[in-house]
């Protein structure tokens, strides 16, 4: 059933139409995806919304009270009452959601606190890990191969 749903929804990333979301905090709803755009309404924490699309740092939403753009960090994907039932449309769109949602696949094990406490040092695996080490210049080459360029950004201060 779920697999079928995944297949049907193989839409481009932007098309989030119909995905349920929940406001994680109170925030303004704006006419356009800019901080200085006109405020058209507001969300209260816990409000249910429909997520329509995404642009940069913004999500286009529709709620009972208002519609427009909010900061994407203010909205959680999925309905308020469901912890799990609603699969994310973003996962679905990428075609990768099926790989991990249900993780009780045979042959792969979890990692519990008890297992970590009982664990014994494994020198062989450690050496293997060390053998994959990349230098700073390896990293730079890799970045430029991907067209990545450094930008300056200061760390954020913690919110009160």
């Amino acid at each position: 059933m779920k697999k079928l749903l995944l297949l049907v929804l193989s839409a481009p990333l932007i098309a989030l139409a119909g995905e349920a979301g929940t406001a994680l905090k109170a925030d303004s709803v704006r006419a356009e995806p800019y901080a200085d755009a006109k405020t058209t309404g507001s969300l209260s924490k816990g409000d249910s919304v429909d997520i329509l699309s995404k642009k940069g740092a913004w999500l286009q939403i529709k709620s009972k009270k208002s519609s427009g753009w909010v900061r994407l960090l203010s909205v959680k994907r999925g309905g308020a009452s469901s912890n799990n039932a609603v699969g994310g449309a973003i996962d679905v769109a990428s075609g990768r959601a099926g790989t991990g949602k249900v993780v009780s696949t045979t042959g792969i094990r979890g990692l519990s606190a008890e297992e970590l406490k009982a664990a014994k040092f494994n020198e062989e695996e450690m050496k293997k890990m060390e053998s994959y080490t990349q230098s700073a210049s390896d990293g730079e080459r890799f970045a430029s191969a991907g067209g990545l360029t450094k930008t300056n950004m200061a760390y954020f201060k913690g919110a009160k």
């Binding site: 994680l24 905090k25 901080a35 740092a57 913004w58 900061r71 994407l72 960090l73 203010s74 959680k76 994907r77 999925g78 912890n83 799990n84 990428s94 990768r96 790989t99 991990g100 949602k101 993780v103 009780s104 792969i108 094990r109 979890g110 990692l111 519990s112 606190a113 297992e115 970590l116 406490k117 664990a119 014994k120 040092f121 494994n122 020198e123 695996e125 450690m126 293997k128 890990m129 060390e130 994959y132 080490t133 990349q134 230098s135 700073a136 990293g139 730079e140 890799f142 970045a143 991907g146 067209g147 360029t149 450094k150 930008t151 950004m153 760390y155 954020f156 201060k157 913690g158 919110a159």
Partner: protein, 343 residues
Amino acid sequence: MRNMEMNKLLISLFLAAGVFSTQCVALDLGKALKDAAKQEIDKQVNEVKNGGEAAPEATPAPAATSATSATTTTPAPAATTSPAAAPVLPAGASPEATATTEKSQQEFNWKKPSKAEEIALGREITGSILGAAPLVKDEALQKYVNQVGRWIASQSERADLPWKFGVIESSDLNAFAAPGGYVLITKGLYQKMQNEAQLAGVLGHEIAHIVKKHQLKVLQKQQLLSAGASWITDKFGKNDKLAKKALANGAEISARSLDKDAEFEADRMGVVLASRAGYDAFGLPEVLQTIGQTNKSDNSVALLFKTHPHPDERLAKLGDSAGSKLDNVKAGKTLENRFYKLN
């Protein structure tokens, strides 16, 4: 704090050097003693340069011995009057602590492990996690994750660490950081990701823990290190050996929680580190969204949810901290095409 102690140490080194040269002139002890003194000072200066900060290894054997015997026999430890011993006293040691010099040294080392010691601790912890869950046998994957991780780490304040990354064989959703630049993520979490920016965000979060020494602080608080005598008597031993002795249980620390604030801080820094590296800023939040949709009763998130605030809370905090700072953030790359697909 660190600088102050460094300064204290340097001052005491200078004092010691001054005393030595005066003695040399006054008593005409000749070149041999001068050289010996110089060697000792050079050794200690080097350790300072290497970030050793008068680690107990720098303790000359006789001083350590006298300190030990002082606890049982000598009422006033000779160490306090000997110029040679001056630099080896931990900067934080108060006069009344002289009777328990070893303890002071233990605490001192704890708070200010050298870079080499930090790496050795991290190696011990990481090797133990690998004992519970080995690396995924896929060299291309491991190399890829190291390339992404190394580039992110280079944007941090500790680019000098020998950063190492690995994907481990576990269906859980989790990631681990250990002091000195060791980062592991589970195969389960990796498989939840859809692009390189998401991987960058997750690695950025773990890198931030190491940059901020969050685990070290937990080790200090919870007294998992049983440093003490072993750090002193094994002063010429390998750091690795010391780390093994110092940790009650290698991987146990990884099953413990950090402060909530440490997690929120790592989230904030992870987003910024990924952005600095040229990636889309929202990779980490996207992964948090995905994790947040996993049912709490699912075993794959049992440990993660036990040791971390819920993703909803993390997202909300991140949003509060970011405020308007990400509103017009330059669109970074997501590189989904380069993202190494793991089946």
